[in-house]
Amino acid sequence: MKNIKLKVARVAKDLSQDDLAKIVGVSRQTIGLIEQGKYNPSLNLCVAICKALSKTLDDLFWEEDEEE
């Protein structure tokens, strides 16, 4: 499932995928794949991304169940 929240938060901070990748120390493709929901980041990487975007884990990575 695509991570729209991450993309929105990144764009709101006026950062490109490359900028965010440089801040957290991963490749641009890794950020791209996380946004597309094709790669599950480790908790450490999630936290680094959240800190870089001044967001919480809930803000970016929590998905409400559809049934709820």
Partner: protein
């Protein structure tokens, strides 16, 4: 009917990570054993490429397999990106330098060997050295450049293509 739907099994990440770490260590051990085997065989039976064919195949095939796999799933270009971000010398230049360096080393080796084995007198030895050195350089320099710089460039292009395909979908 939620209970009918297949529940996705959660794998134990810690276990998988640890297993991968062990596999990585095994790979290093195998490579070291191959090198030890080559050195021992050369020491016991003399230098002959035939007696270390198996070891060379293991060393080369695993190296080539890694490069091909890394390029096909797109992490090769990621590795280059991270390397170039942290290093002053880009990986592409490093590969050219390695190719050039190996070419010169082999040229020097054959040049000096010819000078010692076939040369008689100082001038004659220098003549042999210069001739063999440049001849070897002409053969091996392009070969190593194609192998290192060319191989690198092809793998990087394939990797970028694979990543773009991944990101486009």
């Amino acid at each position: 009917m939620k209970w009918l739907s297949k529940r996705q099994k959660i794998a134990d990440e810690r276990m998988i990570n640890m297993q991968n770490k062990i596999y990585k260590e095994i790979y290093t051990i195998v490579m070291i054993l191959c090198l030890i085997s080559i050195v021992t065989k050369y020491y016991l039976y003399g230098i002959d490429a035939k007696i270390v064919t198996t070891e060379l195949i293991i060393l080369f095939v695993s190296g080539i397999y890694y490069t091909v796999r890394a390029a096909s799933i797109g992490i090769f270009s990621d590795e280059v990106e991270l390397h170039d971000r942290n290093s002053k010398v880009p990986m592409s230049s490093k590969n050219v330098y390695i190719g050039l360096g190996l070419g010169v080393i082999i040229g020097l080796f054959f040049g000096i060997r010819s000078a010692i084995v076939y040369g008689s007198g100082l001038l004659n030895s220098i003549f042999y050295f210069v001739i063999v050195f440049f001849a070897t350089l002409m053969i091996y320099l392009p070969l190593f450049l194609v192998l290192f710089a060319g191989g690198f460039s092809v793998a990087k292009k394939a990797s970028i293509k694979a990543t773009e395909k991944d990101l486009d979908e």
